[in-house]
Amino acid sequence: MKLRTRDRLGDILSYAFMAVMFVFFAWPLIWLLSMALRTRKEVFLGVSRLIPKYPTLDNFVAVLTSSQFPVYLINALKLSCLSAVGCLIIAAPAAYAFSRFEFKSKGVWMLGILAFQMISPLVIMVPLYRYMARLGLIDSHFGAIMVYIALGVPMVTWLLKGYMDGIPKSLDEAALIDGCNRLSVFIRIILPLSTPGVASAFIITVIAGWSQFLVPFLLITKDSLVPIGVGIFQYAGTQNASTIQILAAACLISVVPAIIAFLALQRLILSAMTAGAVKG
């Protein structure tokens, strides 16, 4: 009897805690949505119009029909998708080698690759900006994509290696005995079997590329080449209180693709993430 009331009390406390946390995480997003749906007049009414009396989609229309925003979105899509493909091409062979071959100092190589990720992108951008300027790669998507790839490679290598570890080695051995060489084992057997791992690595890299700010902010100055992260930052700098609802709509449009991509593959992404952190 006493045990049951204690459990009940625990349940109530759990619910209270979860409710507080839910409000904390959801409030900024609800507020953003609320602002994006308001007319200019209702913006000034604050929380009393959390659900707008005269909701409007005009702000979204204004953003999507403007001359810059669609360009920003396409640029961001191009940069993040191409860099994700590049990442996979570069990381997949290494992941295969780490998963299948035994060689000296393998652990050191793997940790070394991971250790690079601890370096702030800002630190490497200081000299990279100079190189890119000398090579004439400022204001080129190619230069930015190369840096995106470098930033993504360590994680993708680890993710793919982890996935390939789950594919039985006996498959490789059988194919080798049948006369396949290592390259065709990799291309014809391991890569097709790794499709879920490759897909989640691709999505994670696309989301990371979509969120990228520092690299394009430094390397791309021409407005027609800028991706959404930089575009919205510059747009925000020119706005005032009377256009806050349009900024909210633009912000929402920039955030939603990342959220949808994440939710679609949530399970895969989470298991990949935690595998790395929990194994240590």
Partner: protein, 309 residues
């Protein structure tokens, strides 16, 4: 070229080695080695070289000198920048770790009791985590809007409380920035803590129960000690992430008011790309590297030596 021709060409590189030979991993690693070498290793080496010059971004070859080092490390504002960085990092890391752990514990308990809402809570937190830093800054700037219609102040007014100067009061602004960073970062800690909790051997709890342990004793003598390695690894990851945070601050406060939220990464950015002082920025980059490395080593020394959990 046919596939056969490609493979025969590659065979001398070791990529097509037969199973009876020990294959060399290096051709497979080559692309990664090249990319990491060109975009990480070489630039990092160059950062160290630049630090001993007087290079600027305005051009010119510059000369080797030690004075940049001395000059940067004795700048009067550096101490304040480091203090701001420390408060921001410590606040964010402790906040994310504590809230993330609490959420993971409650979610695990609630799942066991079949309570409603755990998935909604987890998904909402994770959505905040996916929001790009720049957008996160813009969203929180709307919430912290100090006008009577701001997202938090109008809420406070509704509850009959006085408005807060979230971004313009130098004593408050740091906590506003930490709050926004905790909002965005906590989901990661929650997910890591959740996975670690699930990995604890249930027989430990059974043994504790046989010994008559209370819920609190189970938490302090079973759960937390078992989580120690995961907590330390998580702290390393989020500390480094927080130290490198840049976009969420530049779009929320831009480092202001004054220098109240100008963390080391933002300061380095300003020195290099606003003042064009490449050499001084390189010295600051080295300071950043040393801090991350030092912290990682300190945390790692707390990890249990024999068990690689």
């Amino acid at each position: 070229m046919s596939a056969r021709a490609v493979t025969s060409k590659l065979s001398f590189l070791g990529m097509a080695g037969r199973h009876n030979r020990v294959p060399s991993p290096y051709p497979w690693l080559m692309p990664v080695i090249l990319v990491m070498g060109l975009f990480y290793l070489y630039p990092v080496v160059d950062v160290f070289r630049y630090a001993f010059t007087d290079l600027t971004l305005l051009g010119g070859e510059g000369h080797y000198t030690l004075s940049t080092f001395a000059n940067v490390l004795t700048r009067p504002e550096l101490l304040q920048i480091l203090w701001v960085t420390f408060v921001f990092t410590a606040g964010s890391v402790i906040g994310q770790q504590v809230i993330g752990l609490a959420m993971a514990l409650v979610v695990v308990r609630s799942e066991k009791r079949h309570l409603f809402g755990t998935t909604i809570l987890r998904t909402t937190a994770l959505i905040a985590w996916v929001v790009p830093g720049i957008a996160g800054g813009i969203i929180w700037k709307m919430l912290f809007n100090e006008a009577p219609f701001g997202g938090l102040n109008s809420l406070l007014r509704l509850l009959g409380m006085a408005p807060v100067q979230w971004l313009s009061d130098p004593d408050v602004v740091m906590w506003s920035v930490v709050l926004s960073n905790v909002w965005r970062g906590t989901a990661f800690s929650m997910v890591v803590m959740y996975a670690a909790l699930k990995a604890i051997d249930p027989s430990l709890y059974e043994a504790a129960e046989v010994d008559g342990a209370t819920a609190r004793q189970k938490l302090f003598f079973v759960t937390l000690p078992q989580l120690r390695p995961a907590i330390l690894v998580n702290m390393i990851l989020i500390t480094i992430q927080t130290l490198n945070t840049f976009d969420a601050i530049i779009s929320l406060t831009g480092g202001g008011p004054g220098r109240a939220t100008e963390v080391l990464s933002l300061y380095t950015f300003n020195v290099v790309f606003r003042n064009y002082d490449l050499a001084a920025g390189s010295v600051l980059s080295i300071v950043m590297l040393v801090i991350s490395l030092g912290l990682a080593l300190i945390y790692a020394s707390f990890l249990p030596k024999d068990e690689k959990a």
